[in-house]
Symmetry: C2
Subunit: 161 residues, 2 copies
């Protein structure tokens, strides 16, 4: 575990906000090409009644609004959980520079398992990818959340676990 990631700590704060709202606890932060904070968000699928309202998509859309561009060239994303295929593909479309993520998601991830978005020749941009960043607290939040519910399921596959 690498310990010195202030923006991942901020993403963890976002994840905690999601948990407080009864949402699957995932948070995301985007920094610009100078390393300054650009956007932050957390999972809001239930609150917004929006199946696409994952932390990453919320932060990407917000960052694009702030920059006035559909491209987030040079920008970095910090997210507490391995992105799903939807979010990974959005990261590719946005041409982001680096992806830092926390815990792996063996049941619903789209990078290290399953769709493996960045290994496909239909994906035309691949960021630098760094996993396992502050993964212990990120996984702990998810574990505590799902322990309060019954059963298993993938963290990012909706709210019915």
């Amino acid at each position: 575990m690498i310990d010195d990631f202030p923006f991942m700590r901020m993403a963890l704060e976002e994840a905690r906000r999601a948990a407080d709202m009864g949402e699957v606890p995932v948070g995301a932060v985007i920094t610009d090409a100078d390393g300054a904070l650009l956007a932050r968000g957390h999972n809001r699928v239930i609150a917004d009644r929006d199946p696409t309202a994952h932390a990453e998509l919320i932060a990407i859309r917000q960052a694009a609004r702030v920059l006035g561009s559909e491209r987030l060239t040079g920008c970095d994303l910090y997210v507490t959980l391995e992105p799903c295929a939807m979010c990974a593909q959005a990261i590719a479309f946005a041409r982001m520079r680096r992806l830092y993520f926390g815990a792996d998601d063996p049941k619903g991830g789209g990078i290290t398992v399953g769709a493996r978005i960045f290994d496909r020749d239909t994906t035309h941009h691949r960021p630098e990818i760094y996993g396992g960043i502050l993964d212990a607290p990120a996984a702990g939040l998810l574990k505590a959340f799902f322990a309060r519910r019954r059963g298993g399921g993938s963290p990012m596959d909706g709210a019915d676990e």
Copy 2:
């Protein structure tokens, strides 16, 4: 080519609107469990400065707002082009019943090529899928659009082709 799909014709109208705006011409329509129109949209990546503003995601988010639910159970999606991995995963999250799509997208699709979202065990819902619906006019719109630009690229990989 199957010819009797009024909602796919409506999706083609949406695609033409996108073309008129200088956007990659893709359109989408969602019907509810009774087969009534619920939402329609077209690609707005450039207009909205939003890398996630594909026709399908716009229609899914609109339908979820209308229904007040992050689940579109029993709803069907009509889209003029094979969805990318981002949109295919969103279709899975929304638990849609059927997906009808027009032209294949060999360079950027997420169903018949590449990520093949609905063939992965990390995808926890698979709609019924029908491809090639009114594919000739859908492909014609895309071909005409890209003929006005130089080069190739995937239809849904942004605006830089």
